[in-house]
């Protein structure tokens, strides 16, 4: 008799558990909370990944720009311009400046040439003079390479006086300044 009673208790508790499980499954309470949590999590993740990529690309651009500037500065630091021979013709009013790239940076270009008198008074400036080979007079289109020589000509306005001392300043394409001097015949 007690064995039979025990069986009925087990069956009873099983049916209770079954009922509770069924109720839990059928219960729709808090479903919206779960969905909203999933949606919010997905949104946050998506935004996080977006921000991460944006920050990465911005950082990459900044790093690239910084490296480029540093390399340009390093090249400018290693630029060396030497004045070989400066000749002025009183007859044709042409100043011929022979120069040499004796630095470590190639493609040395001239952005501007300034001429000053003996008291450093500004006389004129000449933009982007054409560089030519000293021996062949061939055009040097991309600037002087390391160890190369070249010349350029400018027509000073006003014309330079005979037997006078002058200063010349060259600004390179990378922004370096090189000063020289000459005297007219």
């Amino acid at each position: 008799m007690p064995k039979r009673r025990k069986k009925s208790i087990i069956a009873q508790s099983l049916s209770v558990a079954e009922r509770q499980t069924k109720r839990l499954i059928l219960n729709k309470k808090a479903v919206s909370v779960v969905i909203s949590t999933i949606v919010v999590t997905a949104g946050v993740l998506a935004m996080g990944i977006g921000v991460l990529y944006w920050a990465y690309s911005m950082g990459d651009i900044a790093a690239h720009s910084y490296s480029k500037n540093e390399a340009a500065n390093a090249k400018a630091v290693q630029e060396r311009f030497g004045f070989e021979f400066i000749d002025y013709s009183n007859i044709s009013n042409v100043l011929t400046v022979n120069v040499m790239n004796w630095g470590d940076s190639g493609n040395l270009t001239i952005a501007n040439v300034y001429i000053y008198d003996s008291t450093h008074q500004y006389l004129g400036n000449y933009s982007r003079p054409v560089l030519r080979n000293i021996t062949t007079s061939a055009l040097i289109p991309f600037g002087l390479n390391v160890g190369n020589e070249g010349y350029f000509q400018v027509t000073p306005n006003p014309a330079l006086s005979a037997g006078t001392f002058y200063y010349i300043r060259i600004i390179t394409g990378r922004g370096r300044t090189f000063d020289g001097s000459f005297a007219t015949a």
């Binding site: 490296s67 390093a74 630091v77 160890g147």
Partner: protein, 163 residues
């Protein structure tokens, strides 16, 4: 004493503020990681720039060290419109010197009196060499007065007066 121990127990058992602490630690780690990367990048870039500066200082030092002497410069007949410039070149510095060009000005001629020749003459430290160079210059005669300038590969110049 009893109150103190109770309070301490309460604090130790309390779980409040754990999330903030963990989040702060993670944030600090992320910031340190980012800073470390930026710092390394900057350090590398600065090292490259410092190398460039060192090389440029070496260039200037070498240029200042060059000492070239021209002795006994003389002009002899080189034919029509040409003269032969002879001289003794001495490298008085501790670095090799490369002479890349000779500029010759015939002072006697009124204008268009300049000519140049490309050279490739290397003088070892302490070396002494007697050399002759043929220069073509229309109207030039060896009895004229000349101004000769030797240009080195480091853009230094040494001038010599002839006659």
């Amino acid at each position: 004493m009893m109150v103190h121990s109770l309070r301490l127990n309460k604090i130790l058992r309390s779980r409040k503020g754990y999330a903030t602490l963990v989040a702060t630690i993670i944030m600090v780690m992320v910031v340190m990681f980012l800073f470390y990367n930026v710092y390394l990048f900057k350090l590398r870039s600065d090292a490259d720039y410092q190398n460039a500066i060192s090389r440029s200082q070496q260039l200037d030092g070498d240029q200042a060290s060059e000492k070239l002497t021209v002795l006994n410069a003389a002009a002899t007949n080189g034919g029509t419109d040409a003269v032969i410039i002879s001289c003794t070149l001495i490298n008085d510095s501790h670095i090799p010197i490369q002479i890349v060009r000779l500029w010759l000005v015939d002072v006697t001629l009124p204008s268009s009196n300049t000519a140049n020749v490309t050279l490739n003459l290397v003088l070892q430290p302490g070396a002494r060499a007697f050399r002759s160079f043929l220069v073509t210059l229309p109207g030039a005669q060896f009895l004229h007065s000349f101004s000769a300038r030797f240009v080195t590969s480091r853009a230094n110049q040494v001038a010599a007066r002839i006659n």
